[in-house]
């Protein structure tokens, strides 16, 4: 699936005045994949999208589309379409006219348009809304119109700029599933921008974590979650305990004065490293059996599990477990070797 990149970004930089928002981005986007650009606001992810869409020009670097440089190509000549953050529907047109906008520009025969619009609206579940005024639609419905309007042009790539940002939590969940479904159905590449890590993890084939104009890590959701390559990724995605330690040798790491077995290899001996421990990977065992002991100092019920803060000799650990313990209980903690993720200090 991943042999043919449809879009290649090569060493892209972008300056706004004297502010550098992208500092050398290299990125390959493949056919049929759902790729998510994830990062905090201001990290440059939307700028990448706008460069691909043709709304911004890169200060330096190359944008290749199927191998051709499209840096100078205006947006209306690119085979990509965008779904904008706040729907950006044309308020003076009704649902039908909004969706048909692109086809009207191409002077497509009206009968063909009617057919295609009908198909699109059926796909996004808005059949029968043709004559409705777009301003009278709910947020979710507007979003669907925006998607239909972009997809009707049969782009090779669909760019989505935080499309779910303005929806409420419940609707958001539904739309995530819906979007994934639509992507499967039309079988084209989606490039999705979000700052919501959960959204990224649920929908994506590939996640590109960005910060400060630099790509931090590219990988599948599972890779990104389980094997964050640096402290930023670890902190940004999911919750974690990050602890400085030393790599004694391959598969043996030492932190908090205790040696642990792990699965990581390829570090120098006695290299200073950081260890990521996901709170749900910390197992609670009786204190008497444990290498690492501590006392529960806070307890919050989170629905499925409890979140405890455990005070140990060196630090507090965040621990998630479904077991119920009283405040002040002395417990022991243990971690399985494959749950220990060792990172270089970045």
């Amino acid at each position: 699936m991943k042999e043919h990149p449809i879009i290649e970004l090569k060493n892209i930089t972008k300056n706004f005045g004297d502010q550098q928002v992208l500092r050398g981005i290299d990125l390959n986007i493949y056919e049929n994949e759902f790729l998510t650009l994830l990062g905090p606001s201001g990290c440059g992810k939307t700028t990448i999208l706008r460069i691909i869409g043709g709304f911004e020009e890169a200060s330096d670097g190359q944008v290749l589309f199927n191998g051709d440089d499209i840096a100078k190509l205006p947006p209306y000549k690119r085979e990509v379409n965008t779904v904008f953050q706040k729907y950006a529907l044309f308020p003076f047109l009704n649902v039908y006219e909004n969706v048909a906008f692109g086809l009207h520009l191409k002077n497509v025969d009206e009968d063909v348009i009617i057919n295609k619009v009908d198909k699109m609206l059926t796909m996004v579940g808005l059949k029968g809304y043709e004559k409705r005024d777009v301003t009278s639609l709910s947020g979710g419905q507007q979003q669907r119109v925006a998607i239909a309007r972009a997809l009707i042009n049969e782009p090779k790539v669909l760019l989505l700029d935080e499309p779910l940002g303005a929806l409420d939590a419940k609707l958001r969940k539904d739309m995530q599933i819906e979007l994934k479904k639509i992507q499967k159905e039309v079988g084209i590449t989606f490039v999705f921008v979000t700052h919501d890590q959960e959204e990224a993890l649920t929908m994506s084939d590939t996640i590109v974590v960005m910060n400060d104009g630099i790509v931090q890590q590219i990988g599948s959701p599972i890779d990104i979650y389980n094997e964050p390559q640096n402290r930023f990724v670890a902190e940004f995605i999911g919750e974690s305990n990050i602890i400085e330690g030393t790599m004694i040798r391959d598969c043996l790491v030492k932190f908090d004065g205790i040696e642990w077995e792990c699965v990581d290899k390829g570090f120098r001996e006695n290299e200073e490293i950081e260890v990521v421990l996901r709170p749900e990977d910390m197992d609670v065992i009786p204190a008497t059996d444990a290498k690492l002991c501590g006392k529960i100092v806070s307890k919050v019920f989170m629905g499925v599990h409890y979140e405890y803060m455990v005070e140990t000799a060196n630090r507090q650990y965040k621990v998630h477990t479904t077991e119920n313990y009283e405040l002040g209980t002395e417990i022991g903690l243990t971690i399985d070797p494959y749950d220990i993720q060792v990172m270089h200090i970045g």
């Binding site: 869409g53 043709g54 709304f55 205006p74 947006p75 209306y76 990509v80 379409n81 965008t82 904008f84 953050q85 706040k86 950006a88 044309f90 308020p91 003076f92 906008f101 692109g102 520009l105 191409k106 004559k131 309007r149 972009a150 042009n153």
Partner: protein
């Protein structure tokens, strides 16, 4: 508060305010159906004034000019303003600030300053003034209004929408026309309305920048106000009706549309129709522009043109039409309201073939080399002119330049019911008789006002002695302080016909006219002496068609023509037979008719040295500005 029942008091207040708004309009409409000229007494229903209006070529031309200029100025300034507002939101800060600030100037600046600055510009650029300069000026003051109403909409618009359009395959131009313009529609519409209103209503700017006989409604109305003319009321009434119909129509349209929208058939049809509406409208506009240009230029090229610049209400326009027919030519006719303003117009670069100034101005024009000698051989009626007007003219000693037109003196028109006969012995000094405080009109003319003071003081009205002029100045200032005189222009006639005040300084011919209309009035020329004036037709250096110019002047010396013209104007004709005809006929016994030229104290105005002119002008400004 809202939707609560509104009590009677506030409603009454609204009614009173609207009464105030509409009272003058209602009166205008009412008197447009009056059978007589009066604007105060309704004498019977008649459509006479409408008939007159619809046959008056000048008014119809002005209506055309007003409307076509308003339409073109609106279209062009709307397009220019809209694209500027769109471009502005993305421009660099310096550019943005420049445009927004410069843009504020025509809005904030008084009209008069804008008008004058444009006049100076066109003069300096040697642009021939007329339709095009008026259009340029209108676009110049309309566009800022469009920008100020569109720009806020551009700023509050969702800029993503333009990106969306281009993303969906629209070229920048398509994005502009299909997305941005529809988004800005309310702002554009508001700007358009504003521009149209401003252009249609404009007087000051048009007045200063126009030329070559091109006049809009405002200018025509301004010229017409010199004499009572209920045609204006008829014009107002028609314009008001048009405006009301248009505005009500525009405001009701959305409601009608909304009702029809319920019908799906309608929608399917209109979608296609409205698509074609814009090109159709654009086409109509282009055709209209084309026709305008063609008619403007073809009219000029196909016929001989004679440009005549005359004092207001100083010719019977029917005779001009007659002349045009007889000689197959076109007369571009314009009017001025004083010799001085005529001179200013010449100075600002306007060109004419024939002027009709007064004696002293003719002298000045001769001195400053503005005039061409007349080919007297072509004036067949030369011998019909009153001989005394052809001899001993100090302003044109050999009579090489002037064909006398009308002549007369300056005197005092008085209401015999109010003014005591014995007070008349005071001569000009009656104008300072406290008995008539607040009951007199002075004539708004610099030289005649000084003439009155100088003659009263026993000096020559052509004095170059500054001391004497200062004395005259004091006399006039003192008069302003003690007598509260109202300085008027030609509206003096209407006022005196209505008997509004007891005394008025008028030209003898105006006196004749007023006395003819109101028998209570009489006229006398004070013994201290007065101004004996002659207005003459002269040909300028710019004239390329001496033959036609001579034919024109000769035409107005023809007895039949001169009688009809005199009938309209009421002054003393320079044609002997016509002069006699009225003196012995219609105006027999009318003291305004037939100036008494025997008084040795009477004088003719002479052109004065530049320094004295400037000195007097300055004093005159002070007199008029005096509180």
């Amino acid at each position: 508060m809202r939707l609560k029942k509104i009590s009677l008091g506030p409603k009454l207040y609204i009614a009173v305010c609207f009464l105030f708004f509409y009272l003058p309009i209602a009166v205008t409409m009412f008197f447009s159906f009056n059978s007589s000229k009066s604007l105060t007494h309704f004498t019977g229903f008649s459509l006479h004034w409408y008939e007159k209006l619809l046959t008056d070529q000048n008014i119809l031309a002005a209506v055309y000019v007003s409307i076509s200029i308003a339409i073109f100025a609106t279209i062009i300034s709307t397009i220019l303003g809209t694209i500027t507002a769109i471009g502005l939101s993305k421009s660099r800060k310096v550019l943005k600030e420049w445009i927004l600030n410069v843009n504020n100037i025509p809005i904030m600046n008084p009209d008069i300053v804008t008008a004058i600055s444009l006049m100076i510009l066109f003069t300096s650029a040697r642009l021939e003034r007329g339709y095009i300069t008026m259009l340029l000026a209108h676009i110049a003051f309309c566009t800022p209004f469009v920008i100020t109403s569109v720009y806020p909409k551009v700023r509050s618009m969702d800029h993503n929408l333009a990106d969306v359009a281009m993303d969906l395959g629209a070229t920048p131009f398509q994005a502009l026309t299909k997305v941005i313009v529809p988004l800005l529609r309310p702002g554009i519409f508001a700007g358009m309305l504003l521009a149209f209103t401003m252009s249609l209503d404009d007087f000051v700017v048009s007045y200063f920048v126009t030329g070559n006989g091109v006049a809009n409604i405002s200018i025509i109305v301004y010229n017409m106000t010199k004499r009572i003319n209920p045609t204006i009321n008829a014009l107002s009434t028609l314009l008001i009706l048009a405006v009301v119909i248009v505005l009500v129509g525009v405001n009701l349209w959305p409601a009608i549309k909304a009702k029809r929208r319920g019908n799906p058939k309608y929608q399917a049809v209109t979608k296609r129709k409205s698509k074609k509406l814009v090109p159709i409208l654009a086409g109509i506009c282009i055709i209209a522009v084309g026709i305008t240009c063609v008619t403007q230029f073809s009219a000029i090229s196909s016929k001989q043109v004679l440009r005549v610049f005359n004092s207001g209400e100083y010719i019977d326009m029917d005779l001009i039409a007659q002349f045009e027919d007889e000689y197959d030519c076109q007369v571009v006719y314009e009017t001025f309201d004083s010799n001085e303003s005529m001179y200013t117009k010449l100075q600002s670069g306007a060109t004419y073939d024939i002027l009709v100034p007064s004696d002293y101005m003719i002298e000045r024009l001769i001195e400053e080399d503005y005039l061409k000698k007349i080919d007297w051989k072509q004036i067949t009626h030369k011998d019909d002119i009153i001989p005394s007007l052809m001899e001993n003219n100090e302003f044109d000693p050999k009579n090489e330049y002037t064909v006398p037109y009308y002549w007369g003196t300056v005197g005092i028109l008085y209401d015999t019911n109010v003014v005591d006969e014995e007070d008349l012995a005071q001569g000009w000094e009656i104008l300072r008789n406290p008995k008539y405080k607040g009951d007199l009109y002075m004539y708004d003319s610099e030289r005649d006002s000084f003439m009155i003071a100088l003659k009263t003081l026993g000096y020559s009205m052509n004095t170059t002695n500054k001391k004497e002029l200062l004395e005259a100045y004091d006399w006039l200032i003192q008069q302003r302080e003690t007598m509260d005189p109202v300085y008027v222009g030609d509206d003096v006639m209407d006022n005196m016909i209505s008997g509004n005040k007891a005394l008025a300084v008028v030209y003898s011919g105006d006196g004749t006219y007023v006395i003819d209309e109101n028998e209570d009035m009489s006229f006398f020329v004070p013994e201290q002496g007065s101004n004996v004036w002659t207005d003459g037709m002269v040909v300028t250096k710019d004239c390329n068609n001496m033959e036609l110019a001579c034919q024109f002047m000769d035409f107005f010396l023809d007895k039949e023509v001169a009688i009809q013209n005199t009938e309209y104007i009421g002054y003393d004709s320079a044609v002997q037979s016509v002069y006699d005809y009225y003196r012995e006929g219609d105006y027999a016994g009318n003291p305004g008719c037939g100036p008494d030229t025997s008084n040795p104290l009477n004088e003719v105005f002479r052109n004065q040295p530049q320094k004295i002119k400037a000195f007097t002008a300055n004093l005159w400004t002070k007199i008029k500005s005096h509180k």
